[in-house]
Amino acid sequence: MPEAVREVPVTNQYGLHARPASRIVGIASRYRSEVTLANGSGRAVNAKSILDVLTLAAASGANLTIRAVGDDAEQAVAEIAGLIEQKFGET
């Protein structure tokens, strides 16, 4: 099973609050792969679960590890990493 991993820093002002979390979950849910997120060395959570993503409490400056397992793993990780790097489009 293909696997993809990337580590990205959270740089938007308020970190993973409800709105950015919704967007990550929205993207992750479109992929067939299993997608997880981890904050630093913490527990990996289901990126398709908004409640799990919110429990990461990832503030600005946190390092997120995105991991996907499945046939579309590569694209899933790339799209989520892109979203985080672009600060979720926040200005």
């Binding site: 409800a18 709105r19 919704s22 979950v25 849910s29 679960s49 908004i50 409640l51 409490a57 503030a59």
Partner: protein
């Protein structure tokens, strides 16, 4: 089994099923389903999710139109919660494997996350907890449909759990069906506490998150004597509390009838005065019924707690005179308005203070609202023409405040003189000793007033810098801390030296565990909730001053407040096994 600690506001024990009130006063039922029903239940849950999602999408769309996309974004998160795979998995597991009904399964799943969010303690996250409840409630509304059980249709006796009971909720309760209360917030003077005492059912408040951690249908124990709630008690605990509950009721009845008309005197003849603290005018009657020798603390906040305007001079005057009539000659100590902190607030909105406990509360508030204060002083003075009224100023921190309060009282007297209205010119003036600064200079303050009333709740809180309603530090709140005991000793001694009466009206005086210690520190006047009086009297009548002195000496020699408390509990148990 899980144990939660709160503030005991109404004594007694109750064992029963939890009835969790949400803000809409509906109950979350808990049932175990027959295996044949599990598929239908799963389907019912799916449909509720769909219906709730459609509803949220509708709200989102209309919100977007009204205030813009950015503000409607939170509903995006709500929609994702309704689709959350972790929630779905947990709910389905509870339905299919544990055979619970969908409402209970949903409530458990959401509350588990709520609990996780809260325990993370992140400021940003607390907002999301309310979102979680919002979504949970929406789902439950769809699940419950027309079958929602409301408070007015209770069939079996239950224990009511709520964030905070509102007057309209308690008004709709059937008192025969409610055996106890437990709430997240509140203190001794909260509405829940007052209603519970009036109904004479046990209550624990200030539990933090009890209404959200417990699901409807859970079996719980309420210990209104120690301020403890036990969730899903084990067999042994259950048995213990069944026994306690039976003996408590029998003991209470026997004590009241046995001791109502005998004085509180130790075996060797030391007389102690037992007065009652009350919050509502109706409680004066129960104070007399339980054998109080007067009202040691008449809280006037309730007069101000009503919606709208502050009470007029005539309304207050009538309330005080009504109490005096019921007391037929016994003293009535009226404490002037003590708002702020956890107390009832005035109808008018007060500016938010970053540190209200150290802010403009109590006497400070009265000084800043001279018109309001004047009305109260006049009302108390006028009532003093009709009985033994004494006035008590709360939260004094130094001499200058006494001077100022006395000046204002004098001005009110002069007004009444000019108007030819009668009052007691020698109205006894007392102060609460509840701020450490006042306790430390009690010897100086004793020369300026006719009596002291020690408020241990605040004195402990200020001395130890612990907010006992804050669950994260409440365990540091210890009335037997050596610093507190040293202050108490100093205050009581200062009062005795100056020849003035010293009363203690904090919760400490109502707890028989501390009775011997307080007597040993020299206290001869206590004021407690009416129902506590028979028990206190029983302890006093059972001990001798030699025993008291010995117990006190040992207690004062201890450095660890927990050890002191354990020792005092053990001593009290030896003296009066039935009560513990």
């Amino acid at each position: 089994m899980e144990i939660k600690k709160g503030i005991a506001v109404s004594p007694g024990y109750a064992i029963g099923e939890a009835f969790v009130l949400d803000s809409e006063s509906y109950r979350i039922p808990k049932r175990v389903l027959a295996p044949a029903m599990l598929e239908a239940e799963t389907e019912r849950y799916r449909k509720a999710c769909e219906a709730a999602s459609a509803e949220v999408a509708g709200v989102q769309a209309s919100f977007e139109k009204k205030v813009g996309k950015a503000y409607a974004a939170i509903f995006e998160a709500h929609l994702w919660m309704l689709k959350d795979p972790q929630i779905h998995a947990e709910v389905l597991r509870r339905i299919r494997e544990q055979r619970f009904n969908a409402e209970y399964a949903v409530s458990r799943a959401f509350r588990r996350y709520a609990w996780m969010f809260r325990s993370m303690g992140d400021e940003h996250l607390s907002l999301r907890v309310s979102d979680l409840y919002d979504v949970e409630k929406r789902l439950l509304r769809h699940l419950l449909g027309q079958k929602r059980e409301s408070l007015t249709t209770l069939t079996d006796p239950v224990i009511i759990l709520a964030h905070d009971l509102t007057p309209s909720q308690t008004a709709s309760l059937d008192p025969k069906k409610v055996i106890a209360f437990a709430t997240d917030v509140g203190g001794r003077t909260s509405h829940t506490a007052i209603v519970a005492r009036a109904l004479e059912i046990p209550a624990v408040v200030g539990l933090g998150t009890v209404s959200t951690d417990i699901s409807g249908g859970d079996r719980i124990v309420i210990d209104g004597n120690r301020g403890v709630v036990i969730i899903s008690p084990d067999g042994e605990t259950l048995k213990k509390y069944e026994g306690l509950s039976t003996s408590f009721r029998a003991f209470g009845k026997r004590l009241t009838s046995e001791l109502k008309d005998v004085p509180a005197v130790t075996k060797d003849g030391t007389r102690v005065e037992l007065m009652a603290n009350i919050e509502l005018p109706e409680e004066v009657e129960s104070a007399v019924r339980y054998g109080a020798e007067g009202i040691g603390l008449y809280r006037t906040e309730f007069l101000y707690a009503r919606e709208g305007a502050a009470p007029t001079e005539m309304e207050q005057f009538k309330a005080y005179v009504h109490a005096l009539r019921t007391l037929s000659g016994r003293p009535l100590v009226v404490r002037t308005l003590d708002v702020g902190g956890d107390k009832v607030m005035l109808g008018e909105s007060q500016p938010q203070e970053p540190n209200p406990i150290l802010g403009c509360r109590s006497l400070r508030f009265s000084f800043q609202h001279p018109a309001l204060f004047r009305i109260q002083l006049r009302a108390v003075l006028r009532a003093s023409a009709f009985g033994d009224v004494r006035i008590l100023f709360p939260m004094v921190s130094g001499l200058q405040e006494i001077d100022r309060a006395k000046d204002l009282l004098k001005a009110a007297m002069e007004e009444l003189d000019r108007e030819g209205i009668l009052y007691n010119k020698d109205l006894p003036v007392g102060i609460m000793i509840e701020v450490p600064s006042a306790a430390l200079i009690a010897d100086r303050l004793a020369k300026e007033v006719q009596f002291f009333s020690i408020g241990t709740n605040d004195l402990v809180q200020y001395t130890l810098a612990v907010d006992r309603v804050n669950e994260r530090v409440a365990n540091l709140y210890k009335p037997t801390h050596p610093a507190v005991l040293r202050l108490l000793k100093h205050v009581i001694q200062s009062g005795a030296d100056a020849g003035i009466r010293v009363n203690l009206c904090g919760e400490m005086s109502g707890d028989p565990v501390y009775t011997m210690l307080l007597l040993g520190l020299g206290l001869r006047s206590m004021s407690a909730s009416p129902f506590a009086i028979p028990e206190l009297k029983k302890v006093i009548r059972t001990v001798s001053m030699d025993e008291v002195r010995e117990t006190t000496e040992k207690a004062l020699a201890m450095d660890d407040p927990d050890q002191t408390s354990a020792f005092l509990s053990e001593r009290a148990r030896q003296i009066l096994p039935e009560a513990f």
